[in-house]
Structure formats: structure tokens, C-alpha cells
């Protein structure tokens, strides 16, 4: 296994437009905020996510954070450390399909230690154990749902924190921040509870669990701008090499790179401001049939 080569957290401020505009609004406002909003957008997103983390920690008994090693779940870990003053007070669960990129495993082993995570690595069952009526890539992805169910049964978590976002995919856009799952782990899209004014339904019936989505309201560009601002390490596969990069990281056999020359986060942000290619275009399972993703999610996929 190779040494992790995460993107070096550069300490000097980069002169990208993203950073300049966010820093400009961080300065204390002498008028006590009467002159205008004192928080920029990343501050607002961060504060909202921290609020969600603290609500989850206060209201559930046995939480775990699903650490998929990607850009979104790394931002989540960062936000959890902000919420809890430097530590992540619940286990980080990696449901391992065994088919991730080597760079991802290297990253996990390195940062699991550096961030002092209570890391739990849980395997997934073989492919034969998975619904054979699903199209091939979806069936492969559904292994992860089975792995998740096994982990749930093993530890009895009542809350799983997951880094999905509304802008990724149309059924994720319909999610609640605190999303109840049935006893079988399923998602009842026809009967989601009301959720408003930052009041969350946090009482899962015995044996069932909740999915908690602290970054549901973030966009792909928000994730990158925040990663840049906070110097959060990332897996180098996200940066362009030989004209290609990964926008989304899943299993190596069903995830494909997109054409890109963005070799830095600043360049990724410029690319995102222009592109019309959807983020998950490189995820085979999204494109097999009209309802493939919904079927996966109803069964308990993220």
C-alpha cells in the first residue's frame, strides 16, 4: 500500500476569487452587523451543519458517522470536529466494499489516526447475497446497503450520519435532515414526517434508525470552497491528471473519471462555475434505468 499523498494543506492564503470573497466578509463588523449580513455563505452553511450535529448528538443515543472517505464525508468530519471542539465523539464507520481505490485506503489509514477517529471498518457480503433483479452497477452498489444493515445489527446504532447532498441526485433532493428508516432500514418516501424551523423528528421506534444529513443543503461547489478555505485534506484522485479527474468517488469498478484539467481546488471551483455536466455522471449506477437509484435508496442505500 502506498504512502498517502493528500493534497498538502497549504498554509498561505491562495489568491483565488473564492478565498478573497469569503475572507473579506469574515472581518469583524464594527457596527454590530447592522450594516449587512456578517456571515458569508460558507459561515452560514457551517453553522447550520454544526447545529444539526449537536442536535443529533443530544437527541440520539448511539450515533455513527458514515465515512466514505470522499470529499463530502471529509467535510463532515471537519464539521463534527468544529461542533465538538476538536473531537468526533462517535465512531466513524467505513462500510468497505473492498473495491475502493488504493488511494482511498491509504487516506483512511492515515487520517483515521491523525484525526483520532474511533474507526470501525465493516465488510460487505458477496454479490450473490444481493437482489439479482437490480441492474449490474446498482446491484454492486447495493452490497453496501447490505454491509450497512450488518453493521447496524452488530452495533445497534440509532442514528447514522451520512454526507448526502440535495444537489447530487433528484431523490436525495427529497430527503429530510433527520430521515427515519423502517425496521428493515427502508426509506418510506410516501410518508416522510414534517420537518421545519430546525425541529427534527429524532425518536426512531425501537430497532429502527435515523439517517442524519448534516450537509444536505450544501452544493458540490460549497464543498470545494469550504475544503479550500479550511485546508481539509483530500484524496488526490479528485485533481486532474492527464486530462481526467474523479468528481465523485465510489467503487473502482463502477466509477469513472470525467474530462478535466482542474489540477487544484481553485481550478475545480472555476470548472464548476462553468460546467453543465452533472456531478454523478461518472457513477454508472445512476444511469442504468429511470428508477434504479430510487429503488436502491428505498431499500436503504444512501
Amino acid at each position: 500500500m502506498q504512502r498517502p499523498s493528500p493534497v498538502p494543506p497549504s498554509r498561505k492564503p491562495l489568491s483565488s476569487p473564492a478565498l478573497v470573497s469569503s475572507n473579506a466578509q469574515l472581518a469583524p463588523d464594527p457596527d454590530g452587523g447592522l450594516a449587512g449580513p456578517s456571515m458569508d455563505r460558507l459561515d452560514q452553511l457551517e453553522a447550520q451543519s454544526i447545529y444539526i450535529f449537536r442536535e443529533a448528538f443530544a437527541r440520539l443515543k448511539k450515533l455513527a458517522l458514515l465515512w466514505s472517505l470522499g470529499k463530502d464525508s471529509n467535510v463532515m468530519i471537519w464539521l463534527a470536529r468544529k461542533a465538538f471542539f476538536g473531537r468526533v465523539p462517535f465512531p466513524a464507520l467505513h462500510v468497505d466494499t473492498g473495491k475502493k481505490f488504493p488511494e482511498m485506503y491509504a487516506f483512511r489509514d492515515h487520517y483515521g489516526k491523525e484525526w483520532e477517529l474511533d474507526l470501525r471498518i465493516e465488510p460487505c457480503p458477496p454479490i450473490d447475497a444481493v437482489d439479482p433483479t437490480l441492474p449490474p452497477a446498482a446491484r454492486s452498489a447495493a452490497r453496501k446497503t447490505e454491509g450497512l444493515k450488518m453493521a447496524l445489527a452488530k452495533y445497534g446504532f440509532d442514528g447514522l450520519i451520512a454526507g448526502i447532498r440535495r444537489d447530487e441526485e433528484a431523490t436525495r433532493a427529497k430527503e429530510r435532515v433527520f430521515s427515519p428508516r423502517g425496521l428493515e432500514g427502508g426509506w418510506d418516501v410516501r410518508d416522510q414526517p414534517p420537518e421545519f424551523w430546525d425541529h427534527f423528528n429524532a425518536s426512531p421506534p425501537p430497532g429502527a434508525h435515523l439517517r442524519i444529513h448534516p450537509i444536505l443543503h450544501w452544493t458540490e461547489a460549497d464543498i470545494w470552497a469550504y475544503t479550500q478555505r479550511e485546508n481539509i485534506p483530500i484524496i488526490p484522485l479528485y485533481l486532474a491528471k492527464d486530462g481526467k479527474r474523479y468528481r465523485s468517488l465510489g467503487d473502482a469498478d463502477i466509477t469513472f473519471p470525467v474530462e478535466s484539467n482542474a489540477a487544484s481546488i481553485a481550478e475545480i471551483l472555476v470548472e464548476l462555475a462553468e460546467t453543465k455536466v452533472p456531478e454523478r455522471s461518472g457513477r454508472a449506477l445512476d444511469h442504468e434505468t429511470e428508477d434504479a437509484f430510487e429503488r436502491l435508496r428505498v431499500a436503504g442505500y444512501l
Binding site: 442536535e55 461542533a83 418516501v189 414534517p194 421545519f196 424551523w197 461547489a221 470552497a225
Partner: protein, 637 residues
């Protein structure tokens, strides 16, 4: 595939300084909400590559003409039934705004999902089908927008193609909905005729709607403003948790309004405990901001070990929220079972939860109906006003004083079942059990008078800050005590730290402050003590109320020191602060002190030494039968 040109100076969407506005689209089922969103994304070039083709294929597979609504109606049942079931969100940009569009279902069955979406919005588009006109969900959604606090509303009259782009039809609908919304206290920012399916009036003005001279939908969206954080209001920090991960005891929460800095004097409600903020903690340990504002998630440590818990609200000492066990709220109800008087519920106010009982129900109506017959229970999707008796005291504000700490949700069986606005707080009812039996003292008043040589009385010192009320009150206290009496000093400021710690300086809170002072004072007076109240008490009406409470035990002493003299003394530095604009609600520099005209005694301390003034008071007390002869002689000597 897309290509990028590296380092082009475009500000990425995520951190641009353009305002971000969240807009919900509401209205009756099938009036074209999802279609409008699809169209808006198309018109602004925001659809991802390949999406148009996918939607076309999906429509064809179902044997339908092109359906824009399938963009957001992503669930299979939604597409099969042609209706939106759950709310969803999608981002796009107009010339001047970054926008998050929130689609909401129009079917009454899914009102909970409409509320979930609309509660997150800064502004709303209320859609009406030109052919069908205003329907029950149009009215219901209009009402709920108002309850949810969405104040910016533009009305869109859709499907103008179905009525031949007829101006009269538009005008009739426009008049009807304007009247309805105005009745709810909402003024539409615009009323716009469009055809979402065909694109007229969405992004560009249309020839077929040439008679309309108002904005397009995109033009109306560009007028909406993001909701502002509540920075100007008093501090409200609901406690989310207390963490002890290391030797620090961190109180964590999000500032809902106002701001805080380390060193601030705070009060923890509903208990009314006072402390100071020792530090504001963060990770990584860099505090860029001196002051922490509404919207920030913070962690603070206090200067003393106090018991506090999740659900408490931290405020500043002079502007704390109220504490109560009794509330009135205007609510919407989403649960299958109607809400009835006597129902056991769980109430959530910010991070606080308390069991509660519905004490009474009033004005229960269906906001979708035109003529409203009130009923005794609040049925599903209806609204009403309820009185709530809470099992525990809570810290709370009226929603017009603070929209965040003045709203609540109701849970039944662990699921959110309703929500609404706090419209009344019953301070008098707090903590009063129904079956109290007042107990008389074992002693007769004569017995006490024989010992103290005086009868009980309430001496009410009123006057501007710095007039000398406290100084005189203390001098009098000592003189009465030295001659064997039993004086008790009730200083307004001192009592505000404890008994009245939940009160601010609004007119209402000041009245309540005076009421409590008077109640405590009269209790002491009835037990033979001389209660000496020193309080600015600027309002004639409040002093009259105090006199009513104390009856013939009341003696008003007006300290009539001129305002200039008071300001030059400024013993607490309050005048200086108020002049600098740092002390709101301060009596003294305005004309808000209403001088009494019929006091038992008036003293100007700029002309009278303390000893002389004290003599004036004891003489008045003898004259009016409070001091009995012996003690009067002693006191005068």
C-alpha cells in the same frame, strides 16, 4: 464533454457575494408549480447536459407530451400519478440572485411536505391556474405562508394559454387573491400572468401578454431579498448541550438573535440565574471575531459553576426572555387525530421540550374555506388558537418580539404534528397551582406594631435615575432600624437580578416589574414591616396599579430632583451610555418620566440635605399614622 479554461476570473457560485434567496412555489394541486420550476431552469440555461433529453424520453415512455414537472417530480409514484408528493429543492441563478427553488406539493394530502418546504423559504410564488382560479389550497397555502413567517409573496397567474391570454380573466383573479391576501396581512410584491408550459412571461415579456406591464417571473425573483439574521434583537442563545470533553465546561448553542462577547453579563432563563461569559471557545482555536452574532454556532464558558441544561435560553440581564408555564399559540395542525382541549402533547420551543396539556381551543377553522365556522377541535390541516399549560417553566418570547424564540412545534408519539407562533405569555399564571389557600399570619398586626412602634406601610420612592431615591431610602432604612422599627428595602435594580430577572424594559415588562414589587411590598406591609421601594417607575399608570395593590398602606414619595442635576450625578454611568446610544429603554434623557401630581411627599434633593429630607419623610409618616408616637419622637431627635 465540458471543457474548462483554467484560472478564468469567475467567482465560483458557492462563495459569490450575490444574495442567495430561497423561494418556495406554492398553490393548488396541478396549477403548474413543478412545470414553472422546470421552465425557469430551462430559460436560465441551468439544466445539466442531457437532462432535457432524459425528460423527453421519460415523458414519451409514459405516452405524454413533454412534461417539465418530471425534472423535480423524481419519484416513480410522482411521475405515474402526475402530482408532486414531497418537497424538493434545486439551485439556479438569475441576473442578480443565486436562487434555491423549493417545490411544494399542492395536494392537501401532502400539506406537511408543503410546510416542510415553505418553512425554509425567504419568499414565495403563489401559483393560480387562470382557468380554475383561486381554490382551497390557494387560500390555505396563502394563510400558511403568513403563519410560517414568509412575508414576500408574488402571485403568478399560470396557464394563461388556457384562457386565451384574456386580460379580464387575469384581472378578476388578481382582484380576488389580492383581497384574500390583504385580509391576511400580506401585500403581494407582484401579480404576474404567465404560461409556464409555453414560456410566456417566465423569462421574457411575451407579445401575447402585451397588455401586462409588470415584471416577468425572473424579474420578480430578482426583487426578493434574503431573510436577514436577527442581529438587532436582544440576545437569545438557546442551550443545545453542555460538553465536558476536557477540563472546560462548554455551553454550546446557536445564537438565534443579538450578539455576545466574552465578559457579557448574562441571565439564564427560565431560572433567572446570573453569570458572566468567561470565554468563547472554538476549534481550531482561532477566534477571528470579537463579537458573535445571530446565526453563529458558539460555545461559551461561564465565570461560575451554575446548573444549566439543554433548553435554557441565555439572554442579557436587561433584556431576557420571559419565563412561563402558560402560553397561547396560533397553530397549524397536521396530525390525523384532531387536537382537542385536554390533549396531552409534547411542546418544543427551540431546544427545550416540555410535556403539556391543551387547556383551551379557540378559533379552530379551515383556512382553505371561504366561510369559516369555528369548531371545538383543530382538525388535520386546519388552524386555531390554543392555550397550553406546560409541565415545566420555559423561556420564551412573543413571536412579534422575536420570530425565532417565539415559535413552537408540537409532537405526538415522537412525530412532529403541528407548529405555530406564540401570541401570548401568561406571566401571572406561572407556577400557580389552582388550589391555593392563602394562609393568614399567626400574629395580629397590633402585636407587631407594639414591638416596632409603627404600622406596616409601602413607601414608594419614584423619580429619575440619579435623583437620590436609593440614597434616601437607605438613610431612612437606617433611621427606622435604629429606632427599633422593621424597615425592608426593595430596590428595583436589586430585584431585577433575581425575582424580576426575566423582565426586560418594554412597557409591558416594566408594568410587570412594578406589579411584582408592589405585591412583595404589600405582603411585607401586611406583616407589619415598612417596605421601602426605590424604583424609577416612570409610568403614572403603573404607579396607580401599585397604589391599587397596596391600598391605604401606600405612601408615594416623589424625588423631584431636576433632570440636569440627575444627569450630572450619573452614579451608574447610565446617562453617558444612553447618550452614546448604548443603552436602549433608559428613562431619563427622553421625556418618558411621567411626574406624579398627588404624591404624599415631594423632595428635591438638589436643595435638601439627606438628613433634612429623611426628617421630612418621618414627619409625613407620623402625620399619616404610620409611625406611632414613640418611634416618631425618637426618629425626629
Amino acid at each position: 464533454m465540458n471543457m474548462i479554461v483554467a484560472n478564468r476570473p469567475v467567482a465560483p457560485a458557492a462563495t459569490s457575494s450575490r444574495p442567495l434567496v430561497r423561494i418556495v412555489i406554492v398553490g393548488h394541486v396541478d396549477h403548474g408549480k413543478s412545470t414553472l420550476i422546470g421552465r425557469l431552469l430551462h430559460e436560465t440555461g441551468s439544466l445539466p447536459d442531457g437532462k432535457f433529453e432524459t425528460l423527453k424520453a421519460v415523458s414519451e415512455r409514459r405516452g405524454m407530451p413533454f412534461e417539465w414537472s418530471f425534472l423535480l417530480d423524481s419519484l416513480q409514484t410522482e411521475r405515474d400519478q402526475g402530482i408532486t408528493i414531497d418537497t424538493t429543492q434545486i439551485g439556479f441563478r438569475t441576473p442578480h440572485r443565486d436562487v434555491v427553488l423549493i417545490d411544494a406539493p399542492g395536494h392537501a394530502e401532502f400539506l406537511r411536505n408543503m410546510i416542510t418546504g415553505a418553512a425554509q423559504a425567504d419568499a414565495a410564488l403563489l401559483l393560480i391556474d387562470a382557468f380554475e382560479g383561486v381554490r382551497d389550497q390557494t387560500r390555505r397555502h396563502g394563510y400558511l405562508l403568513h403563519l410560517l413567517g414568509v412575508k414576500q409573496v408574488a402571485v403568478i397567474v399560470n396557464k394563461m394559454d388556457r384562457v386565451g391570454f384574456d386580460r379580464q380573466r387575469f384581472q378578476a383573479i388578481s382582484d380576488e387573491i389580492s383581497a384574500h391576501l390583504t385580509g391576511l396581512g400580506v401585500t403581494p410584491t407582484a401579480i404576474i400572468p404567465i404560461s409556464a408550459r409555453e414560456g410566456d412571461g417566465v423569462g421574457a415579456a411575451s407579445k401575447r401578454l402585451g397588455w401586462h406591464d409588470g415584471p416577468t417571473v425572473i424579474g420578480a425573483i430578482d426583487q426578493f431579498e434574503p431573510a436577514r439574521a436577527l442581529e438587532q434583537l436582544p440576545l437569545r442563545l438557546p442551550v443545545q448541550a453542555i460538553y465536558k470533553f476536557d477540563d472546560r465546561r462548554i455551553v454550546a448553542g446557536r445564537i438565534e438573535s443579538g450578539h455576545l462577547t466574552s465578559g457579557d453579563e448574562i441571565v439564564i432563563m427560565p431560572a433567572g440565574k446570573i453569570a458572566k461569559i468567561r470565554s468563547v471557545e472554538s476549534w481550531p482555536a482561532t477566534s477571528l471575531r470579537e463579537r458573535h452574532h445571530a446565526g453563529h454556532a458558539v460555545g461559551i464558558t461561564l465565570d461560575r459553576e451554575l446548573f444549566l441544561e439543554r433548553g435554557d435560553i441565555i439572554g442579557h440581564t436587561n433584556s431576557a426572555p420571559r419565563a412561563t408555564k402558560r402560553l397561547r399559540a396560533r397553530i397549524f395542525w397536521l396530525h390525523d387525530e384532531p387536537l382537542t382541549a385536554g390533549s396531552a402533547i409534547l411542546v418544543r420551543l427551540g431546544t427545550k421540550e416540555s410535556r403539556a396539556t391543551v387547556a383551551a381551543i379557540d378559533k379552530a377553522v379551515d383556512p382553505g374555506e371561504l366561510s369559516n365556522a369555528a369548531s371545538a377541535a383543530i382538525a388535520r390541516n386546519h388552524v386555531g388558537e390554543i392555550d397550553i399549560a406546560l409541565a415545566q417553566p420555559v423561556a420564551v418570547d412573543i413571536h412579534t418580539d422575536n420570530p425565532h424564540t417565539g415559535r413552537l412545534v408540537i409532537e405526538v408519539n415522537g412525530r412532529i404534528a403541528g407548529g405555530g407562533l406564540v401570541i401570548g405569555i401568561d406571566a401571572a399564571q406561572r407556577a400557580t397551582p389552582i388550589d391555593i389557600v392563602p394562609m393568614e399570619s399567626a400574629l395580629q398586626p397590633e402585636e407587631r406594631a407594639a414591638r416596632y412602634h409603627h404600622r406596616g406601610a409601602v413607601l414608594w420612592f419614584t423619580g429619575l435615575p440619579g435623583a437620590g431615591k436609593s440614597t434616601l431610602a437607605r438613610a431612612l432604612e437606617r433611621r427606622l432600624f435604629q429606632s427599633g422599627g422593621s424597615p425592608v428595602l426593595l430596590d428595583g435594580d436589586t430585584l431585577r437580578a433575581g425575582l424580576n430577572g426575566d423582565l426586560g424594559f418594554s412597557a409591558k415588562d416594566r408594568s410587570e416589574n412594578i406589579r411584582r414589587l408592589a405585591e412583595v411590598a404589600v405582603h411585607l406591609a401586611r406583616n407589619g414591616h415598612i417596605a421601602i421601594v426605590a424604583a424609577v417607575s416612570p409610568s403614572t399608570e403603573d404607579r396607580a396599579a401599585a397604589r391599587r395593590i397596596a391600598g391605604d398602606l401606600f405612601r408615594e414619595i416623589y424625588i423631584a430632583t431636576p433632570a440636569e442635576v440627575c444627569e450630572s450625578r450619573d452614579p451608574k454611568g447610565h446617562y453617558a451610555k444612553a447618550r452614546a446610544g448604548n443603552l436602549s429603554g433608559f428613562t431619563g434623557i427622553g421625556n418618558d418620566y411621567e411626574a406624579p401630581h398627588a404624591s404624599e411627599l415631594t423632595i428635591d434633593t438638589s436643595h435638601r440635605a439627606i438628613a433634612e429630607a429623611t426628617g421630612d419623610i418621618t414627619r409625613m409618616l407620623s402625620r399619616t399614622g404610620v409611625l406611632l408616637d414613640t418611634v416618631a419622637d425618637l426618629a425626629a431627635s
